[in-house]
């Protein structure tokens, strides 16, 4: 089951997308993905959710009030770097496209109005590509363990670090104490 977060300020778009994702097959390269869709109409709600739940793919509108799609995807990338990122926009602006690729590293830019089949195949391809990358990384780590370049502890630390960034590092104070929150030192 692939977890997908969709974000658009227009509810109708969200509903249409839900329908498509529920009904249309999501297949690429002989693999079919079952999709579990969570839809949000504000970036804040979506980010809040992304902090607590992992997702395989983010699909965002570009033009939204308060925060545009690129800013949202950049924030989502900080939370979940391995998730795929797509933009679905009716605003085919070259500047936006350049920013999306350079700042966020999006996988696809899909124009509105979209073609259902193309949309689903783009999602599937992105998911497939992501799985391939993760699998490659896992295999490479296994090889490194076998070759002694990496210990299972390291691997576990990487996993934990990915789950909770900063958790594998210890902040030592000058007196040998452990600082849980360095910001507290600054306060009177």
């Amino acid at each position: 089951m692939s977890r997908i977060l969709i974000l658009d300020d227009e509810e109708s778009i969200l509903k249409a997308l839900r329908r498509v994702m529920r009904a249309a097959p999501c297949a690429a390269g002989g693999r079919t993905f079952a999709l579990e869709v969570e839809a949000f109409s504000t970036p804040q709600a979506a980010l809040e959710r992304a902090r607590h739940e992992p997702f395989d793919l983010f699909l965002s509108d570009y033009r939204m009030p308060e925060m545009d799609g690129i800013a949202f995807l950049a924030a989502a990338k900080a939370l979940q770097p391995d998730a795929a990122r797509l933009i679905l926009s009716g605003y085919a602006d070259l500047n936006a496209l350049v920013r999306a690729v350079n700042e966020v590293g999006i996988d696809r830019f899909i124009a509105k109005p979209w073609n259902d089949y193309e949309l689903m195949s783009a999602i599937a391809q992105s998911l497939a590509h992501r799985e391939l990358v993760l699998e490659n990384r896992q295999l490479a780590n296994l090889v490194r363990i076998e070759m002694g370049e990496l210990t299972p502890e390291h691997l576990e630390a990487q996993r934990l670090e990915a789950l909770e960034p900063g958790i594998t590092r210890v902040n030592w104070g000058p007196d040998g104490s452990v600082l849980l929150d360095p910001d507290l030192l600054e306060r009177p």
């Binding site: 249409a16 509105k112 979209w114």
Partner: protein, 772 residues
């Protein structure tokens, strides 16, 4: 009275008195003792007198013819003058002419010889007495000219010629002739005067050559003073305010004293003579006699010549002398001044570039005079006056006819002067522009006699003018370009904002379009799923259940609905697809990033544009597409779309009620042709050449900006293509655009990108290599 009768009366009067007295005594004797002796004495006296008279008469009768002759001498008289031994002088005889000469009767002179001496000039009395004594002593005749008072009271000249005869008694008698030579002396003196005047006059021209005006006048005046015997000569210069200053002594100017001869002469403007002491002038103490002559030019006196202190009175002769000599000197000075002025004028004229001509008003314009400075054109004045070459040959052939026509017209119109500009060919073949300022000389009847032309070389001015004209034309062209650019900028700014708006609208449309299209697709899937369920359900029904279902199906027209639902969805999706395309076209049309040069399909551009304006056209136009196969054209498609839009809108506006618009595209060699024809009102011929001018519009206010076609023209030119129009009023217009497939030297794609000017803002000439 007859002198002889007078003499007789004089001689006989005492006798008559005596006889009267005797007769009185005889008739009425006084009773006195002295009567007898008195009577005896008187009788004796009368007898003596009678005897004397008889002697005298006898002698008179002997000398009578001679004396009569003497009496008849004009301006002269004879005399016999006797000085006896005792020295007593008396006239024995004197002709009656003495009365004519001196105004004293002969009898009076005979009675008192001193009368005549009294009449002689006191200065000459000694001379006559000396001559007499001399003559008496030596017995020689004497001749003497002396001054004597004449009958008119003036001094005259008397010539005496006397021959002495000595008698035995010791007395000497002179037989003399006295002649009044006053006139002769005057005549000879006048003659001498004339001769000296002539001499002086003859000397003047030579002096005029080497002396300036004051020196010449002063010299002449000095000479006049010599001729007239004046001891004083003064020359005064008169300035503009009438003040006098003496020449050559330089004194402060002063006014002529009122009442003086000088002031009088200046007032009257003529010579004034005063033979009496006159008011003094500076440098001149009270003159005894004075003559003043104003030397005037055109009424205003410039000099005052003065002669004074002559021993004798000034007469007309002296005045004439002064007037003649000084006047002549003045004339000479004036002439010399005029000559010098003329020389100077000639020198100035010749030094200038202005050339003067005089042509006779005859065929061929023979040259009467031309200033010598014509040699700056390589001609000589002599040759031109001789007609080598004729003046007409000097005028540029292209100008000759015009110049001749103008001369004839001006002359016929009675003008006294006119200006002409034409070209002159110099001897070496150069062309010079001249301004000919001509005055027409006419006779009393108004017939033109000659033309005086002043030819000024204005070649430099003409060149400057031409350069200025050219500069002006260039500036105007530049202004036009600037105006065009400005217009395009305005229009493109408008377009850019429309583009932004359109892009925003497109975005907003894309969202609903997105979900509607998507939902319709989903609905299609749902319907198929539903039908599958329905079909599966129907298959499970038995015969009776199917019979029961049939009316329901029939009531709801199920078979039709089932078939039509999918058609409906397909049609809706088609409509949505069209909507999507329109929005797409709107974005394509307005996309600001699309102003770069790239290969584009013009047919597609035409279609997109038609989609956008379709709303404008659909109610009254039928659009025919005759689109040929077009190779990709390197262009700024957004700009060309703008051109298509303008032409399509114009075509739609040209059609009032219903009409047709035909789009035709063709490829031919290295170019493509796009034609947009309408069956509208057409363009009137007078508007045809202005339709591409900025702000030219025939549409009602608010409908047209007058910019559309000018913008189209600018864009097509920037594509190195051309735009043409065929139009028949009332039948319609065809706009034809011919574009090269690949314009020479448009900028590379990379040059124009995001942030570059919006469509139309680019210069109409993207590269200096592109033809204008």
């Amino acid at each position: 009275m007859n002198p002889r009768a007078g003499a007789l009366v004089l001689q006989t009067a005492p006798l008559a008195v005596l006889l009267g007295a005797l007769a009185w005594l005889a008739v009425d004797p006084p009773d006195t003792a002295i009567l007898p002796p008195l009577a005896a004495f008187l009788t004796a006296l009368a007898l003596w007198l009678i005897a004397v008279l008889a002697v005298a008469r006898r002698r008179e009768s002997a000398d009578a013819p001679l004396r009569a002759l003497g009496d008849n001498l004009p301006h002269a008289y004879l005399y016999q003058y006797q000085v006896d031994a005792r020295g007593t002088a008396r006239f024995l005889h004197i002709s009656s002419g003495v009365e004519r000469v001196h105004g004293v009767s002969a009898a009076a002179v005979l009675a008192d010889p001193a009368r005549l001496l009294d009449l002689t000039h006191p200065d000459d009395r000694a001379a006559i007495l000396a001559a007499e004594t001399e003559s008496q002593r030596h017995g020689t005749p004497f001749e003497l000219t002396l001054r004597a008072r004449r009958a008119d009271g003036l001094w005259g000249w008397l010539h005496l010629h006397s021959v002495p005869h000595a008698a035995d008694d010791g007395s000497v008698t002179w037989d003399g002739l006295a002649t009044d030579v006053t006139r002769e002396r005057e005549n000879s003196r006048a003659l001498r005067m004339v001769a000296r005047r002539v001499e002086a006059l003859l000397a003047l021209p030579e002096e005029a050559e080497r002396l300036d005006e004051p020196a010449l006048l002063h010299g002449a005046l000095t000479r006049a003073a010599e001729l007239t015997g004046s001891r004083t000569a003064r020359l005064y210069r008169i300035d503009a305010r009438g003040q006098l200053s003496s020449v050559p002594e330089d004194e402060a100017p002063f006014p002529a004293p009122a009442g003086s001869a000088g002031a009088e002469a200046l007032r009257l403007g003529t010579a004034v003579c005063r033979n009496q002491p006159d008011a003094p002038l500076p440098g001149l103490a009270t003159p005894s006699r004075v003559v003043c002559l104003p030397v005037a030019d055109e009424g205003a006196a410039q000099w005052l010549a003065l002669l004074a202190n002559r021993d004798e009175d000034y007469t007309q002769a002296e005045i004439d002398t002064l007037r003649l000599i000084v006047g002549q000197a003045w004339q000479l000075a004036k002439k010399r001044k005029a000559t010098q002025a003329l020389l100077l004028a000639n020198r100035v004229l010749n030094a200038s570039s202005v050339i003067c001509f005089r042509w006779r008003a005859e065929a061929g314009w023979p040259v009467d005079y031309v200033s010598p400075n014509v040699r700056q054109w390589g001609y000589t004045a002599e040759a031109l006056c001789a007609g080598r070459p004729p003046f007409a040959d000097l005028v540029h052939p292209d100008d000759l006819a015009r110049v001749a026509d103008e001369v004839v017209a001006h002359t016929a119109a009675g003008r006294t002067g006119y200006l002409q500009e034409y070209r002159i060919r110099t001897a070496c073949g150069d062309l010079r522009w001249v301004l000919d300022e001509t005055r027409v000389l006419r006779d009393a009847d108004g017939t033109a006699l000659a033309y005086d032309g002043i030819l000024t070389d204005i070649t430099d001015r003409r060149r400057a003018e031409e350069a200025m004209q050219q500069a002006l034309a260039e500036q105007q062209a530049l202004n036009r370009k600037l105006e065009e650019a400005h217009t395009q900028l305005l229009q493109s700014e408008k377009l850019a904002s429309i583009g932004q708006l359109a892009a925003g609208v497109a975005h907003e449309l894309n969202n609903p379009l997105g979900f509607v299209i998507s939902n319709l697709g989903t609905l299609d899937t749902y319907l198929r799923d539903l039908m599958a369920v329905v079909d599966a359900g129907a298959a499970l029904l038995d015969e009776a259940q199917r019979a029961r279902l049939a009316p329901v199906c029939a009531a709801h027209d199920f078979d039709y609905v089932r078939g039509d639902a999918f058609t409906l969805i397909a049609e809706s999706r088609e409509g949505l697809d069209r909507l999507r395309r329109i929005v797409q076209d709107l974005k394509t049309f307005s996309r600001p990033g699309d102003s770069e040069w790239r290969e584009a399909d013009l047919n597609q551009g035409l279609e997109s544009t038609l989609n956008i304006v379709w709303n404008e056209l659909k109610y009254k136009c039928t659009v025919h597409r005759d689109l040929g196969e077009l190779p990709p054209v390197r262009c700024r498609i957004a700009q060309l779309n703008q051109v298509f839009l303008n032409l399509l809108v114009n075509a739609g506006q040209a059609i009032a009620e219903r009409g047709e618009i035909t789009l035709r595209t063709r490829a031919a060699g290295e170019s493509v042709t796009i034609e947009i024809s309408d069956t509208g009102c057409g363009i009137s011929p007078e508007h045809r050449q202005r339709i591409f001018d900025p702000f030219f519009t025939t549409k009602p206010v608010g409908q047209g900006t007058g910019l559309g076609l000018s913008l189209a023209y600018g864009i097509i030119r920037a594509h190195q293509g051309r735009i043409e129009v065929d139009s028949t009023p009332g039948q319609g217009s065809t706009f034809r655009i011919v574009l090269p497939l690949a314009p020479a030297g448009p900028p590379d794609d990379g040059v124009v990108s995001e942030g570059a000017p919006a469509p139309g803002a680019a210069s109409p000439d993207p590269s200096p290599r592109s033809p204008a």
